[in-house]
């Protein structure tokens, strides 16, 4: 089964969702900042809102066609939907929730299917509890089971794991991967977390201000972001405006100066001429920190700076270093300890040339 989408929908004054995409069986990640239109796209596909123009089809079954006046009602689309907050019916047990979409089946057949899917989502023992008496992760697993048990032609997931902690997230991702292997249908998974895109997606589609700005495998899309919007989304914490000051054709590199500073960075060569403005994106995890000047390194970018701020974000220590330009650096707590780092210290930053990505500011139009 393949889902073909081509819709436009006005989102608000001056902003329009205008998306064309094909989702083959497997998990397609719809990635973008909040407000980019990804949830609106899911709601159009489910039939919860009506697109202004366009066409939606699963293989040759048409769900929506503005030109021919076709608009199949939500309940007849056979499209599964998993909501951000699970949306389990609070007045029913998990068992009744999961069996809700199977009302056309005989009682024993329905019970059998509910039991089978509950087993595969590891919620058999809590089936008779109401949603309020189970954990957030269990609720979301029940919501997944409820959508999948009806054997939908397409599964739509709207940030289903965003409210859960990371350990539970990865366990549910495993469940979802297994469900996907058992039944090959297109799954559209909306997220703003690049971690989920990497771990779950076969295909990633990036949406910004209502348009598709990039698509490909998660690594194609996220490791070499070609636009600064995407660089921010993909977890490139450091984005600098810079000017190219020297091209080293033979080395395949280029020397740039970060605007407003004297900081110079060597980056991979691209088409920019000397004097051109470019934008450089660097992941906070790709920057090394030393407390004395390093020697004997191949890295070309070694910058002296001062540690301004140090804070813990979960298991990651986030350091802000002023090296002319301000760098955000991710460290492990043991790394911080072994270097005895504290704010005010003078440190050295090491950045590999190929950790510097050149991004463009304007999203290119995908044809």
């Amino acid at each position: 089964m393949t889902l073909a989408v081509s819709v436009t929908k006005r989102l608000g004054p001056g902003s329009t969702l205008d998306v064309e995409l094909v989702a083959p069986p497997g998990i397609t990640m719809l990635f973008g900042a909040s407000g980019s239109g990804k949830t609106t796209l899911l709601r159009c596909i489910a039939g919860l809102i009506r697109p202004d123009q366009g066409r939606l089809a699963i293989d040759d079954r048409i769900l929506f066609d503005a030109k021919n006046g076709i608009d199949v009602p939500v309940q007849d689309r056979h499209v599964g939907y998993v909501f951000q907050q699970a949306a389990l019916f609070p007045h029913m047990s998990l068992r009744d929730n999961i069996g809700y979409g199977l009302h056309r089946l005989a009682d024993d057949e329905r019970q059998a299917r509910v039991s089978t899917i509950a087993e595969s989502f590891r919620i058999s023992s809590i089936l008779d509890r109401p949603p309020a008496q189970v954990s957030g992760g269990e609720r979301q697993r029940a919501a997944l089971a409820r959508a999948l048990v009806t054997e939908p032609s397409v599964l739509l997931l709207d940030e289903p794991l965003s409210a859960l902690d990371q350990t539970i997230q990865s366990r549910i991702m495993d469940d979802l991967r297994r469900a996907n292997e058992a039944r090959r249908i297109p799954m559209l998974y909306v997220t703003h977390s690049h971690r989920e895109v990497y771990t779950l997606g076969h295909q990633a589609v990036v949406i910004d201000t209502g348009r598709v700005i990039a698509r490909g495998t998660p690594h194609e899309v996220l490791d070499r972001p070609e636009q600064s919007v995407l660089a921010n989304l993909a977890g490139f914490e450091n984005v600098f405006d810079a000017v190219a000051i020297e091209r080293r054709e033979r080395a395949g590199t280029m020397e740039c100066r970060v605007e407003g500073t004297s900081t110079e960075l060597e980056v991979p060569l691209n088409a920019a001429a000397v004097g051109d403005r470019i934008r450089i994106a660097i992941r906070a995890g790709d920057v090394l920190v030393g407390n004395e000047q390093p020697r004997g390194l191949s890295a070309r970018n070694v910058l002296r700076g001062q540690l301004i701020e140090l804070s813990a974000h979960g298991p990651t220590m986030v350091a802000v270093v002023d090296a002319g330009a301000r760098f955000v650096v991710h460290l492990t707590p043991t790394g911080v300890e072994s270097l005895h780092l504290k704010p005010g210290d003078h440190v050295w930053l090491i950045v590999k040339t190929y950790s510097c990505r050149i991004v463009v500011e304007t999203p290119w139009q995908h044809s």
Binding site: P73, V74, V79, A87, L88, F89, G101
Partner: protein
């Protein structure tokens, strides 16, 4: 104690409450979930009895029921007797008068349901009616009961509309509140007090039932 008036009032209020339940479920559903721009117009009309003096409502109803109006003529032709000053006329007037007390708690209960629950029901293949019966109604049952109780109680207590439309015919249109008024007019304070006490106790019981059921403060206050 005017047992005849009490029995008549109970019969009237019960009938009106049941009719209002049947009307208010689809009406409140439409008012809450319709995306049409002119729902506010219907909303205003439904809520009109909250602000309109009962005598004004009663006066227009009396005009509408008179033999000179199309409705009154039609009723007289099809039933053989006029609508004004009859029990049926009183039922129709009471339904209109108590409409907001039935519709508003129900609409408020519908509106507080998380929209994604109804959407989830639809994506799971449920028809509009199934979504209503299995999700919307069970999750707003408190509001529905509040509407039922309030429209019953409000009908019991009405005075102006009854006097205008029904007059004061024992066993046909003389309700409890009219009976109390009658006793006071005749300086029979003893009898008036007895009937009034029954009404007072009843009203208190109703409110205790509504608040006790919903366990939320001011649940019975209509949201105007």
């Amino acid at each position: 104690m005017d047992w005849q008036a009490i029995a008549l009032t109970a019969r009237l209020a019960a009938l009106v409450a049941v009719i209002l339940l049947v009307i208010s479920l689809p009406l409140a559903h439409w008012l809450t979930f319709s995306r049409r721009r002119w729902t506010f117009l219907v909303e205003s009309i439904v809520s009109l009895p909250l602000v309109l003096p009962p005598t004004v409502l009663g006066f227009y109803l009396l005009m509408a029921m008179g033999t000179r109006s199309p409705l009154g003529r039609w009723w007289t032709e099809s039933t053989g007797h006029p609508l004004a000053f009859t029990f049926e006329g009183l039922v129709i007037a009471s339904v209109l008068y108590s409409l907001p007390f039935a519709v508003q708690p129900v609409a408020a209960a519908f509106a507080q349901i998380d929209p994604s629950l109804r959407e989830a029901s639809a994506t799971l293949g449920a028809s509009g009616f199934r979504t209503f019966a299995r999700v919307t109604l069970p999750l707003s049952i408190e509001g529905v009961i509040a509407g039922l109780v309030l429209s019953f109680a409000h009908t019991v207590g009405e005075f102006g509309v009854v006097l205008m439309v029904g007059g004061n015919l024992p066993g046909i249109t003389r309700t409890v509140s009219i009976s109390i008024y009658d006793h006071v007019q005749a300086l029979e304070y003893q009898q008036a007090n007895q009937t009034a006490l029954v009404l007072l106790a009843f009203s208190m019981l109703v409110l205790m039932a509504v608040y006790g059921l919903r366990r939320r403060p001011w649940a019975a206050a209509p949201i105007a």
